[in-house]
Amino acid sequence: MDSVVASVHDVTKTYLMGELAVQVLHGISIDFYQGDYISIMGPSGCGKSTLMNILGCLDQPTSGSYFLGDKDTSLMNDNELSAIRGARLGFIFQSYNLIPQLTVLENIELPLFYQGHTEQHSRRIATELADRVGLGDRLHHRPFELSGGQQQRVAIARALSNDPLIILADEPTGNLDSKSGAEILKLFDELHQQGKTLIMVTHSDELAERSQRQIRLRDGRVESDDRLS
């Protein structure tokens, strides 16, 4: 078995809704291994999104710990969280979330920009990645000039640009037609083969089938954690 790249241990999350404390996560512990291709499933309200936000260092657990690589993120301040997002995480969203004013290339470069890389370095990596996702001829297009599938491929290239420890994908094919969705999934397969660690939240069984490990959540707890062979 490969080494652990990230792990949550006994993570809880409680939101305050006015006077009412709503506990969304009730002690979740998962180890994520290098090269894992994981789908996280479960009915709405099961805590998938909350878990993803914590995994993405966009939110912090109320209790418990989250190690990303060798770093415990539950003790980090806002700046450190920003830094670790930029350095160790890649995000792929259902609605692509590209910045409309920026070109394909500039969108892909964005994480590198905040990492303080030189312009030439960023440009080189972004061009390479755009090629890799099949958008080498669209470098200077703006997002609205691209189809949904193309936009999502830009987002994937962007998620790869900082060579992250884990890539987090939230319903990556949710807004796509089946053909574009299939292309995206093919890209995911490639990434998996290259040894990237992918964590994907999805409703779709079909998507989950392609992953190699399925985690089901229910009511803020891990219901099942199955490794498919």
Partner: protein, 451 residues
């Protein structure tokens, strides 16, 4: 112990600072600025309307200062032309005399103004006076061949040109000997020369005033700033046409009583001297001497039929009024820049709300709060800076237009546009801070969920 800790933090702060000054930092700044420009361009009209307040404020302050600076410069030049060491005393016809003269149909002789004795007293009692140049100024028709011109004939002494920094174009001023001998010699102003001698050299020619001929010995340079040095006998607005003759000759030829055909009948007035320039040795004493002269004249005259002008005091007044103008311009600029700043804050708040999702994305991709603050702050500064720049251009153009169409002197100093521009950029920072901080403090999760 605490000292060494302070040293350590200071050192690390310095290190952080120098790290920030790496070329990468500048690249980032430039890229952030590019993004800012793009999003401003995305809302061109809205951005333009937003910065209008700044544009107007900056343009107004620059052009107002230019006009005030020009007016003050012009006034100071005029007063300087009168001589900053000079005190000018003029005879003034008291208002009460004009009224009584008007109601009476029979000829009436009125007498007012400076006397030789006044001048003598002043010269003898006040120390530090280097020179006194008295003048009689009489309006006359001057002829040469077929041409004639109505002009001020100034009977004065040999020092007149020196006291006024008034130079000869050609020939010479009349001499002390000619003065003593009451000779009929004349020095004419440039304007008189061009009116009476359009083609020929006036030197050596004669002109006729009343029944007498005067030999022209010199021509004066055009007077640069003469609006205020003009005698009350002269016309108020035309270019000064003047002829200078020895005071002795003027006294001998024209006497002291002038007969004039007025609307109400014949008017006679006796004025010994129309004007006297008192030169003071020490510039610091000018204003004090001016006050003493006022006191002496007050004692010697029953009516106020004289006026004492101290150019130096007028220069001071011009400076003060320029300062007042500047304060007013500053206040107007302050108000419109404040309004402009509020406009910028308004638009930045709108921009932050509209771009909530973008903020979320950037935060997810590793932007720290300070990166977001920087981004929106730069945008606000670009917005106000562009406004300031447009304002500077307009503010420099307006004085040019004013000068062209109204002939006013306007002076755009280097400091005014520079200051106005820096203030406008500063406005961007000040009014951009709150929206930027608001943007940075958004919860990334919430921001990403935003439609």
């Amino acid at each position: 112990m605490t000292d060494s800790v302070n040293h350590a933090t200071a050192a690390s702060a310095l290190q952080r600072l120098t790290q920030h000054l790496r070329p990468v930092y500048w690249t980032r700044l430039r890229k952030t600025a590019e993004v800012g420009i793009k999003s401003i361009q995305a809302h061109g009209l809205r951005s333009l309307l937003t910065v209008l307040g700044i544009v107007i404020g900056v343009a107004a302050v620059i052009s107002m200062l230019a006009v005030s600076e020009g007016a003050s410069f012009e006034a100071q030049q005029q007063f300087r032309a009168l001589g900053s060491n000079n005190i000018i005393i003029k005879s003034v016809k008291p208002a009460s005399m004009e009224a009584s003269g008007g109601s009476n149909m029979r000829p009436q002789a009125i007498s007012y103004g400076l006397t030789y004795e006044d001048i003598l007293t002043i010269q003898q009692t006040i120390p530090g006076i280097s020179n006194v140049i008295p003048s009689r100024i009489i309006k006359k028709d001057v002829r040469h061949l077929g041409r004639d011109i109505s002009t001020d004939v100034v009977g004065t002494t040999v020092d007149y040109p020196i006291s006024r920094n008034y130079n000869l174009r050609s020939g010479r001023f009349f001499s002390a000997d000619e003065m003593l001998a009451q000779r009929n010699v004349a020095v004419i102003s440039d304007e008189v020369a061009s009116a009476l001698f359009p083609m020929t050299n006036p030197l050596g020619e004669s002109i006729r005033i009343d029944g007498n001929y005067y030999n022209i010995v010199g021509v004066m340079e055009p007077e640069a700033y003469s609006n205020l040095g003009r005698s009350q006998a002269g016309s108020s607005n035309a270019a000064p046409t003047r002829i200078f003759i020895p005071l002795s000759a003027a006294r001998y030829r024209f006497g002291e009583t002038l007969v004039r055909q007025a609307a109400s009948g014949v008017e006679m007035e006796t004025v010994e001297l129309h004007e006297a320039i008192i030169q003071v040795e020490d510039q610091d004493q000018v204003e004090a001497v001016g006050q003493i002269i006022e006191q002496i004249l007050e004692r010697r005259h029953r009516r106020v039929d004289y006026a004492v002008e101290v150019p130096l005091a007028l220069i001071r007044q011009a400076e003060e009024s320029a300062l007042r103008d500047q304060i007013v311009a500053g206040a107007i600029a302050g108000i419109s820049l404040l309004v402009g700043g509020i406009g910028i804050m308004n638009i930045m708040l709108a921009s932050v709300t509209e771009r909530t999702r973008e903020i979320g994305i950037r935060r997810a991709l590793g932007a720290r709060k300070q990166d977001i603050v920087q981004q929106f702050l730069i945008e606000a500064v670009i917005l106000s800076g562009v406004g300031g720049l447009i304002g500077v251009v307009i503010g420099i153009l307006i004085p040019v237009v004013i000068s062209l169409f109204w002939g006013m002197t306007t002076i755009v100093t280097i400091t005014a546009p520079l200051l106005a521009f820096s203030i406008s950029a500063l406005i961007g920072v000040v009014f951009g801070i709150y929206p930027s901080i608001r943007a940075a403090n958004m919860d990334p999760v919430e921001a990403l969920r935003h439609a």
